[in-house]
Amino acid sequence: MIGSRSRIAWRGAEFRLLFPILLLVPLGFVITNIALAGAPEVGDLTLAVGYVLLFAGAHLLLVVLGHRGDQLILPAVGAMGGVGMIMLNRLPQDLAGTSAFGLELGMAATQLLWFGVGIIAMLAIAVGLRDDGILRHYKYSWAAVGIALLAATLVLGYEVNGARLWIDLGPVSVQPGELLKIVLVIFIAGYLAETRTLLTSASVRIGFLSVPPLPYFLPMLALFGVVMLIVVRLNDLGTALLFFGIFLTMLFVATGRRSYVLIGLVLFVAGSFVAYRLFGHVQARVDVWLDPFADPLGAGFQPVRAIYALGRGGIFGEGLGQGLVTLGGNLTIPFVHTDFIFTAIAEELGLLGAFALLGFAMVLVFRGLRIAALARDDFGALLAVGVTTSLGLQTLIIIGGNTKLIPLTGITLPFVSYGGSSILASFIMIGLLLAVSHRSGTADRASGS
């Protein structure tokens, strides 16, 4: 382990940022508890304290083990997750939960449990991944793992809302797509790091477009095609869009060729159009997007209700705990804890709160890009770009869907939406970022000292 051989690394910036953020989380719990009880009662703060301890512990471990990685990422994650925990704690707790190992956990408690699992995974990767050879050299094995995950989903998966994304593993259900995302990023990073000089220098001109030399390009394209086919087969449009975005972005960063992105976008538009014509559910979703008010009580119910919630929030928000979450015993917005968690936050914290959340995500993204730019080698850079893009695009796609900027797709807002697989995958990606960052020793610069 690194820590055993390195000095303690005082992570001062991380401490100074994390401290106020972690203070605010219990405060948020208190405010929501008072608002919900309608009386000045502090209420149950167990989960808030647990959350604070998790992040404080993560910070301490990074210090003790001498981790010299980026110091702004963990506070940004802590802030996003904190807002999410406050909201999840405030929503009806029977929306989701676990009953396993003799435990009956509500939604927020289950989420906290996954934060614990995620943070352990993050620390293990951030500290334990001394050499990225295991990622780089076995990229085809990772690809195989990915395909296996997908195949498993196809065979064993069961459907939720028309998309077959879940595998039942006894006590927990997992979404292999979330982990597949990481495997895909690792594979593409490995492949591009190896072939990127070839892809950049040699090219074949067709008309005014220069296209990549096919022999170098085909293996990746083939794998990607298989993945996309299966994802589309699973009816998971959000993931398809996300994967495509990650792929194009990494290709762009590796080659600097806008033409690749252009070709990709043309293919995407064409593919979308074909999908629109061929698949009823795609068409339905686009039609709802174009005019949700056409059927406000039917197909447009969710987006219309989300838009109303945004409007209710206004600039200042209705206040924590004071949003209109249920109406006559039913949720005003179905899936408020996953697909529409952003809307619930924007309702209670207003435009200011929404911008703050977006700001935390931007800190995460731009620190991630900085880590990529400072990475010691191409693989590290591309890996960092891949995971950063994944987290950033997820944020943009789901908020864009919540605000009717693009058609709604069911993907999670990293660290905020309820969902164990998503939380775990997001923390693994943070672990990868921290590992890349540690190896380039960016910590000193990050602290500004």
Binding site: T249, F252, V253, A254, T255, G256, P296, L297, V304, R305, I307, Y308, L310, G311, R312, G313, G314, I315, F316, E318, G319, Q322, L324, L327, G328, T332, A346, G350, L351, A354, F355, L358, A361, M362, V365, F366, L369, A372, A373, D378, A381, L382, V385, T389, G392, L396, I399, G400, T403, K404, L405
Partner: protein
């Protein structure tokens, strides 16, 4: 080189975040207010379910609608079925209509009429407080007008031509809105009955009913032509006496006079033409005015588009009235001279609402200024008892209006309308609109009848528009439009109702 690409990626991502920020701002700031008033907004639904709703009072402070919360559910009670088509209903089951809908957010207190106080309440997260409305409508006149229509289907609209304040707006048949606004479980059956009723009681005829105007539209034709300088009060048409008997050939189509009831045709100027309601005279006037100017004046008077009664976002809407064939709610072009000549005497493809016709009368009564009509006078703090609170939060109706014709053109038209009720020839037609028949001795009324021919076996719709007091030097205090569906001739059905309503208002409003 990778670092450069990453920097470029950073710029693209920054742009993407900016776009997303913009879309959040769009809903949370730009659209926030208009979303808050939409009736299927869960906030509105929730408020309607549980929040106390403000009381609605008439101009004299009489309760028209009030709410109480029973077992956590807000129930609405209406005191006067004659008011239903103005107030609308607020049903837990069927949503809301009328003023209950346009003032929804204010009634339940989710918006303060004052934007600054609204912002302060927002910051302080104040609980919503219901607000009360006071209308311009006087319940006594409203009930009186409704009683005059009795079992007939029709409408009475009365407006103060000086301010645009609506004094009465009755649509019959009407219904009691309380059963569909009370217990949500018991609301379905009465609503089904209303929906299936062939008499269409759910239709607010005064605002939403489109009817052939018949001869009342001659008032418009006269005012427009006088204003354009096409005619003067003394203008006559030499061929008119002959054409009264033989017909007036336009484009090969013969326009015939209605039954003059034994009156001998003569060379009639404007006053006499209005008194006997000569179709031939007004066909000439319309053709001389021309299609283009006819349409231009129609638009000035508010035809060819929706009319708003009240402040923009909270207005009761009035279906567009038309003088030609409809083109997406707008007036299309005239199909030819026959169409234009027919519209000039209120037939052809003309179709109008009673509100539009009351505004026509009000424009003549107001010396050529058509007032902006409004129904809600002010918003007040919620009253504890049955009397309106003193604290006025917002008030409407600035007394503004639009000049549609010159004062001279209005005066000449008014003269013709006074003669139509009181003149030697006119008495035979519109004499029933004379307020002196109904206990008023010191004032005269002006008016015009309309008998809207529908073709076939159908009995014509009966119309009257007018205003009072109308003697020289007097400033009219009420302008009315009365429609009785299939009520026969204007003089039989509508004129006596209009006369009584005007007389009643002069009595109620006293000598001021």
């Amino acid at each position: 080189m990778i670092a450069t690409n990453i920097r470029r990626l950073g710029v693209y991502l920054m742009l993407a975040f900016a776009v997303v920020s913009g879309s959040i701002t769009w809903w949370q700031v730009v659209e926030a207010h208009s979303l808050s008033t939409r009736p299927d907004n869960p906030e509105v639904l929730a408020a309607r379910r549980s929040l106390l709703r403000g009381t609605i009072f008439d101009a004299e402070g009489q309760v028209l609608a009030s709410s109480e919360v029973i077992d956590g559910l807000s129930r609405r009670t209406y005191t006067d079925p004659a008011m239903t088509h103005v107030l609308g209903y607020s049903s837990l089951r069927f949503g809301s209509t009328g003023l209950e809908r346009t003032f929804e957010d204010i009634l339940v207190g989710q918006t303060d009429p004052n934007p600054i106080r609204d912002l302060v309440s927002d910051v302080l997260a104040r609980q919503p407080e219901p607000r009360d409305l006071t209308l311009t409508i006087d319940r006594r006149l409203q009930d009186f007008a409704a009683a005059q229509l009795g079992a007939d289907a029709g409408a009475v609209v009365a407006i103060d031509p000086r301010t645009g304040a609506v004094l009465a707006m009755v649509s019959t048949p009407t219904f009691d809105a309380t059963p569909i606004s009370g217990d949500p479980d018991g609301a379905q059956e009465p609503m089904d009955a209303l929906r299936n009723d062939p008499a269409e009681p759910l239709l607010a005829r005064a605002r939403q009913g489109l009817y052939v105007p018949g001869s009342i539209l001659k008032v418009f034709t006269a005012a427009a032509a006088l204003d354009a300088g096409v005619i003067s009060p003394d203008t006559t048409y030499p061929d008119q006496p002959r054409e009264e008997r033989e017909g007036f050939v336009v484009d090969g189509f013969t326009i015939r006079e209605h039954d003059l009831g034994g009156i001998e045709p003569a060379l009639w100027p404007l006053s006499e033409a209005l008194q006997v309601s000569s179709n031939i005279f007004f066909a000439h006037v319309g053709l001389e005015l021309g299609a283009e100017r006819f349409l231009e004046y129609a638009r000035r008077f508010g035809f060819c588009g929706p009319i708003r009664m009240g402040p923009p976002e909270r207005a009761l809407s009035v279906t567009p009235s038309l003088v030609t064939g409809s083109l997406d709610g707008d007036c299309g072009p005239f199909s030819g001279d026959v169409d234009l000549a027919s519209a000039s005497f209120g037939q052809g493809q003309a179709a109008v609402t009673p509100v539009q016709m009351a505004l026509l009368a009000a424009a003549i009564a107001g010396d050529g200024v058509m007032p902006d009509p409004y129904v809600v006078r002010d918003v007040r703090a919620h009253a504890d008892g049955d009397a309106p609170a003193d604290e006025i939060l917002d008030s409407f109706g600035s007394g503004g209006g639009t000049r549609v014709v010159s004062a001279e053109a209005a005066a000449a038209t008014r003269g013709g309308m006074v003669d139509a009720v009181n003149g030697e020839l006119g008495r035979l037609y519109a004499g029933q609109g004379d307020i002196t028949l109904y206990g008023i001795s010191d004032a005269r009324s002006a008016g015009k009848t309309g008998t809207a021919q529908l073709g076939g076996e159908q009995a014509p719709h009966s119309w009257f528009i007018g205003f009072a007091p109308a003697q020289e030097e007097a400033t009219p205090r009420i302008a009315v439009a009365v429609l009785v569906e299939s009520g026969g001739s204007g003089s039989d059905g509508a004129a006596p109702i209009a006369g009584r309503v005007m007389a009643e208002w002069l009595r109620l409003s006293g000598g001021d």
